[in-house]
């Protein structure tokens, strides 16, 4: 057999007659079959080129996007419609209200607005007039709005623990953008860092309700429950989790239960204001369980990690910006 025909067989440009005689000739010979398969694979592997098939690729992408998009669009549209309707209704009512009843609804106006924030690596506690307290975790900000009718509204980013005194005369809610958390005399923790995919709520004591933007009740949470809200799919998932895990930060502890090294490093980065680079990909997925005091230095934490496993690290001090920790 000639070299040319063989190459044509491999790149599929051989005629039917050529193929027929070739495949029949190797069918009986298991040695030759094996060799053909290896050559075929080598040929394919060596010709995997991203620049081939450009024209088909564009069309294919359009069809792919059409396929995935209806589902997503619907979701977005649904939500959008819902919100749009709400906005329209509010616009319409407020317009009417302003038009027909020129006097302001009493109590709706904001009478006081305060913002609290904490830096990376610090936990702060805010005491409110009524004896309620709010703890702010690392890199967190909480904005409080007090309205004339006694209603309190908080907006936040980061992680905060709310310990609120029960007061039937005062309504307190946290506005998370897509939904609201309404408290009915409680202790609860909300974790809502902007760079994380979800918002995580733990209830320690009392009762809280989740409301939609339009104040529709979505669900009620009981103590010991843990709610994960996925920002992208807008899905809420309720499960059970010991609330002391979520609130351990308040007592100066990191609690990692079955967390991957990359999740742990994300936490450490936030707290110690360092940048951690994990060079070894397999290490990043290794899971650890441990409790670490937040007052421990990063060096000690790294030393602990290097004791338990094959982790090595180096720290580069930077004059400007965060120090870099390399894990390898």
């Amino acid at each position: 057999m000639s070299e040319e025909i063989f190459i044509r067989i491999l790149n599929n440009s051989a005629t039917d007659a050529e193929k027929s005689s070739f495949f029949q000739s190797i069918e009986e010979d298991s040695d030759q079959r094996e060799q053909y398969k290896q050559c075929k694979n080598l040929y394919v592997a060596s010709s995997l080129n991203p620049e081939l098939h450009d024209s088909i690729q564009k069309e294919s992408f359009e069809r792919f996007w059409d396929r995935v998009h209806p589902g997503k669009q619907q979701k977005v549209l649904n939500l959008w419609y819902r919100y749009a309707a709400v906005v329209l209704v509010t616009l319409a009512t407020s317009f009417l209200v302003q038009y027909l009843i020129p006097e302001k609804q009493p109590g709706d106006e904001i009478v006081q607005q305060i913002e609290y924030s904490s830096e990376k690596g610090s936990v702060s506690k805010v005491l409110l007039e009524d004896g309620s307290a709010i703890w702010l975790s690392s890199a967190t900000s909480v904005k409080l709005e007090k309205r004339g009718n006694g209603e309190m509204m908080a907006r936040m980013s980061g992680e905060a623990y709310f310990d609120l005194v029960s007061d039937p005369g005062r309504k307190f809610s946290v506005d998370m953008g897509s939904f609201k958390v309404r408290d009915i005399g409680t202790k609860f923790n909300i974790r809502a860092y902007k760079d994380e995919p979800g918002v995580y709520t733990s209830l320690v004591d009392g009762k809280i309700e989740f409301l939609s933007k339009a104040d529709q009740k979505l669900l009620t949470m009981k103590p010991g429950e843990y709610m994960q809200f996925n920002k992208q799919s807008m899905k809420m998932t309720l499960s059970e989790q010991d609330p002391t895990i979520a609130t351990a930060w308040k007592d100066g502890k990191f609690v990692f239960i079955d967390k991957t090294l990359s999740e742990i490093c994300h936490e450490l980065e936030n707290w110690y204001n360092v940048r951690i680079v994990i060079e070894n990909k397999t290490l990043a997925g290794t899971k650890y369980t441990s409790v670490i005091k937040r007052t421990t230095t990063i060096k000690l934490v790294l030393q602990m990690l290097s004791l338990t496993d094959k982790i090595k690290y180096s720290i580069t001090d930077k004059k400007e910006g965060s120090d870099i920790v390399l894990i390898y």
Binding site: M1, E3, F6, I7, L10, N12, D16, K19, S20, F23, Q24, I26, E27, Q32, R33, Q35, Y36, K37, Q38, C39, K40, N41, L42, Y43, V44, A45, S46, S47, L48, N49, P50, E51, L52, H53, D54, I56, Q57, S60, F61, R63, F64, W65, R67, V68, K72, P197, N230, Q232, S233, S262, K281, A284, G285
Partner: protein, 214 residues
């Protein structure tokens, strides 16, 4: 003979350049969010590779494209679980390979008693694809190839890269480098000899080709 085969196949040099990790990281976040530009970018970078894979074993453009599109659908479905450790190309490659195997399995059953020629071809392609390594193995190989090329003596490397990547003819290279065509030929065959030696553990099967042809 081996040289001419390698040349005809363009062996070694079509491996996909690895994506810049920082860019990949940003892209992963956008993929999670389902942003169109990110999927378009992944399509641009990877479609050719996996489409080629499925076309080479199926020999049917419509079905090959459909299978590849399904692989991207899978990526879309799992987008929320993506992270920076996730090898997207390897994922697409594996899904495509499995779907091609499924397709070939079903097809060859249907063809068994009808078309002997196509049946045999599918049977062999099926068996070959089953043995095809995973994408990570190619990445390892690519690393070795890059290393071996980098280790070539400078003059050989320069001539060699011109012929492989810029696809210049020997005459074109001779003019560009102001050397004779004979020198170009000599350098390239020397470079191939060195590479073959350096990569012998990884490309052992290349020697089988000569056996098969003799």
């Amino acid at each position: 003979m081996l040289e001419s085969l390698m040349k005809a196949w363009g062996i070694f040099f079509t491996f996909i350049p690895a994506m810049d990790p920082a860019k990949l990281n940003e892209l992963t976040i956008s993929l999670q969010k389902g942003e169109k530009f990110a999927y378009e970018e992944i399509y641009n970078d990877y479609f050719g590779v996996i489409y080629h894979l499925s076309l080479q074993y199926l020999h049917d453009t419509t079905i090959a494209e459909e299978i590849v599109q399904d692989s991207f659908m899978k990526l879309w479905e799992i987008r929320e679980t993506l992270n920076d450790q996730f090898n997207i190309l390897s994922f697409l490659y594996t899904i495509t390979k499995n779907n091609c195997l499924n397709y070939l399995r079903n097809q060859k059953i249907a063809l068994k008693h009808q078309e002997n020629l196509r049946y045999l071809e599918m049977q062999f392609n099926y068996e070959a694809l089953e043995k095809m390594g995973n994408y990570l193995e190619f990445e390892v190989l690519r690393g070795k190839i890059d290393q071996a090329i980098a280790a070539l003596p400078a003059d050989l490397r320069e001539t060699f890269l011109l012929s492989r990547f810029d696809e210049l003819s020997y005459k074109g290279i001779a003019i560009k480098q102001t050397i004779s065509v004979k020198t170009v030929e000599a350098r390239i065959s020397k470079a191939l000899r060195i590479l073959r030696h350096e990569l012998k553990d990884y490309l052992a099967i290349i020697y089988l080709i000569t056996k098969l042809l003799s």
